[in-house]
């Protein structure tokens, strides 16, 4: 039996056993999205429970986060670049890369081994790079039309912040791999910083950036529905709470940040519903879906907030471990 995680696995001995373990974990993750260790003994991971408990668990949560982001980017770039008729062949890149990132994330989510997976690592690295290059393309696209960098072109040309979503997905995946490598008994670090702090600050920053993107496009839509203020209020506020919890510590700050992340995750899901309603409000509504899916509010984008919130929750686990 062959699955996507199998295909991504480097060919070496013990591959089948690992794949089985990965699939077992995947089904466990599917049945209980929040990684709960309370599972039937048959499916329980074989690794040492102490090491898995927080660090690898956080790594897997980060893979959930990177996967949600990759899924959002895959569907959004498919829609938007189709709308742009794939005029430039480079417009296929985010589709390919986000598909790979999604696969790597699913694989990582199902993998509770405490070491770096080379293929995944490469994919996530490429993903981050793609986001940066894509941003370059979008920045160029905005400025290349008559009028250059004026509001008009920020509103209607390539959305300047969108490629950063896939970059963030890549960075989260990369962080996940770094976390797994943490030697037992040592505090986890990321790029030389305390892992919980680094991830919290990165997540807070990412939330701020995504808020900027939502603000630009909701400003273009004149915040005509009051709920359009949701993504420019809840996520940045929650990001601030997260940064606060990371920098100053304390159980109450962590609880506040956790509530914020849950609110952000739910807001992301609710946003999808609102955007579907937005499509209905276009001329012809859902009967005219071939046009309105492209011209109405983009349905795939709000879950990016959910992805970032999952990263925030993983960061909070790490902070909890650090402070306890």
């Amino acid at each position: 039996m062959i699955s996507l995680p199998d295909l991504l696995m480097p060919s070496r001995s013990g591959r089948d056993a690992r794949a089985r373990r990965a699939l077992a974990t995947l089904s466990r993750q599917a049945s209980a999205l929040r990684s709960a260790p309370r599972v039937p003994a048959v499916l329980a991971p074989k690794g040492p429970p102490a090491a898995k408990s927080v660090v690898v668990g956080s790594a897997q949560k980060l893979n959930q986060a990177s996967g949600v982001l990759a899924f959002s980017v895959l569907t959004d770039s498919a829609l938007e670049h189709y709308r742009g008729s794939f005029r430039n062949r480079a417009m296929f890149t985010p589709l390919v890369v986000s598909t790979l990132a999604l696969a790597a994330s699913v694989h990582g989510t199902a993998d509770d081994r405490p070491d770096v997976h080379v293929a995944r690592d490469v994919v996530f690295g490429l993903t981050a790079l793609t986001g940066l290059i894509g941003t370059g393309f979008h920045v160029y696209n905005v400025g290349s039309r008559q009028g250059g960098y004026r509001w008009l072109n920020f509103f209607y040309r390539a959305p300047i912040g969108a490629p950063m979503a896939i970059a963030i997905s890549g960075v989260l995946g990369n962080m996940s791999e770094r976390l797994r490598r943490t030697p037992r008994g040592t505090p986890p670090t990321l790029y030389g910083l305390d892992a919980g702090k680094a991830l919290s600050l990165f997540t807070a920053l990412s939330l701020a950036g995504t808020t900027g993107e939502a603000w630009l496009l909701h400003f273009r839509g004149n915040f005509q529905n009051p709920f359009m203020y949701t993504p420019v209020t809840i996520p940045p506020a929650s990001g601030a709470l997260l940064a606060d919890a990371a920098l100053r510590g304390g159980a109450s700050r962590r609880s506040a940040a956790r509530a914020g992340m849950i609110a952000t995750a739910l807001a992301g899901l609710a946003g999808t519903g609102f955007h579907m309603r937005g499509v209905a409000r276009m001329m012809g509504g859902w009967r005219n879906w071939t046009q309105n899916l492209l011209d109405g509010p983009p349905i795939p984008t709000p879950p990016a907030f959910t992805g970032l919130a999952l990263a925030g929750l993983a960061a909070l686990d790490l902070l909890e471990r650090r402070d306890d």
Binding site: R145, Q146, G147, W151, L152, F155, Y156, F219, R220, G221, N222, Q224, N225, G278, R281, M282, M283, Q291, D295
Partner: protein, 562 residues
Amino acid sequence: MSDKILTNREPLRSGLDLEAMHRPRARNGRAPDPHVPGGWFPMREHREDEAVDFAIVGTGAGGGVLAARLAEMGFSVVAFDAGPYFRPLEDFASDETAQSQLFWTDRRVTDGENPLKLGSNNSGKAVGGSTVHYAMVALRQRPESFRSRTKQGFGADWPVDWREMWHYYAEAEEALKISGPISYPWGPSRPRYPYRQHDLNAAALTLAKGAEKLGIKWTETPLATLSAPRGKSPPCVYRGFCRVGCSTNAKQSMLVTFIPRAIKAGAEVRDLAMVGRIETDKQGLATGLHYHRDGAWRFQRARNVVVAGYAIETPRLLLNSASDRHRHGLANSSGLVGKYLMTQSNVAVWGEMDEEVRWNKGPPSLAITEHWNYDDSKDFFGGYIHMSQGPLPVEWASVHTGARGLWGKALQDEMAKYNHMVGLKMVGEMMPQERNTVTLADEEDQYGLKVARVTYSWCDNDKAMIEHSLDFMGRQLEASGARNVWRQPDDTNHLAGTARMGDNRRTSVVDTNCRSWDVPNLFVCDGSVFPTTGGVNPSLTIQALALRTADRIQALARRGEL
């Protein structure tokens, strides 16, 4: 739609021949809801033998706004329109010829050295008036335009301060959710437009390119069509049929904005109701009006009458309402009713691009420059704007057959270039001249009313402005990369004047409240009160003036001067 079209037994004439064009819809306590196919609003009705506070003639940019505001202030209001009450979602076709149903094509006589072409771009016959098919360009006149005589040395001053007008402009922009640029590059600072600007089509980008090459400023045109949803109106889908009626209701015409507001506030709208005469009593006060509906003449009593029929029908009604006491027409002691008719020059330059442009996509005028309204280093009085263009095929063919006299193979060859064409068209301020008039001809129309004779001649200043604009626009179009640039030197559009407002009863028809000097319970609320027409499309100015007139009427009422 098909089952709605031929419910009457008459043969197809022009357009769709909708039932709405033959039988009044707004009656029996309800009026059509333009946002819902087959939908209705409850509507308050008024008895004809009980005097209503205000009888308003016309439901366009002036009458539509005033009806809503007066009703919201608590006055009883009946608004009359000679045209049908449409529901665009079911009544409008994507067909230029069929949509001529929106134009006022009743018989008129034109003469003068430069007779006006009347019909499409300067009239409307529908509830909502010509806003139902206008190009939605929503501009403010520059401050100096309200003091043309004093500040600019021509025409006449308005009896209104520009700051007051700019206050009401902001109110009108908000009411229509104008989509415009974040910051407007000309004139004093103004509030941010309520909705964001629309994206530009290729025709508009051509204007931008030419403007940048010549070193002048350009911007996205402030438009009365939505860039985001509003209530039941979806955002614009860039169909491009704006000038023959918006079938999606993205256009914020009177029909989908102020008319529903008016009805909700208790006003009654009577469609297919042609007002033929205002009745006055022995004291010279208006007592009501005679109107034709359902094949018969009827009479509505009213305490006040507002005429809002635009620059031809307004003076025609006043002149047709002559009585023993008002021998030369109502409100005409100055002798100026029907005089100082103004149009706006609407000449254009056209050219071909190598790449495909598809200029009919989107609203016709998405980009604009007001450079020659605000730059005073020119050899003529007044100013003009120019905007990108996107005429529909039939309209475009008529430019070739009319302005260029092309036919047959030559016409076919030109039409084959349609998707590669670009153009720049100006809206320019023509001078108020007493010799340009609306008078009564001897002929009668289908209602037995004397038809209007419209006399128009350009003056030297008008010609100088036209020459200047053709020259400048030609250079700009060539700078943007267009080839084979040619001129269309004869077009005009919007109207104004014929019942001018002023400070002096000898030199104007209405005072600063837009109230007749002669008949204190008679008001005029449309473009006819403009002393000068300015170098911008007039709709927003008419709407702003109507908002102001409503406030003025309320103030008069509070002081007991109504």
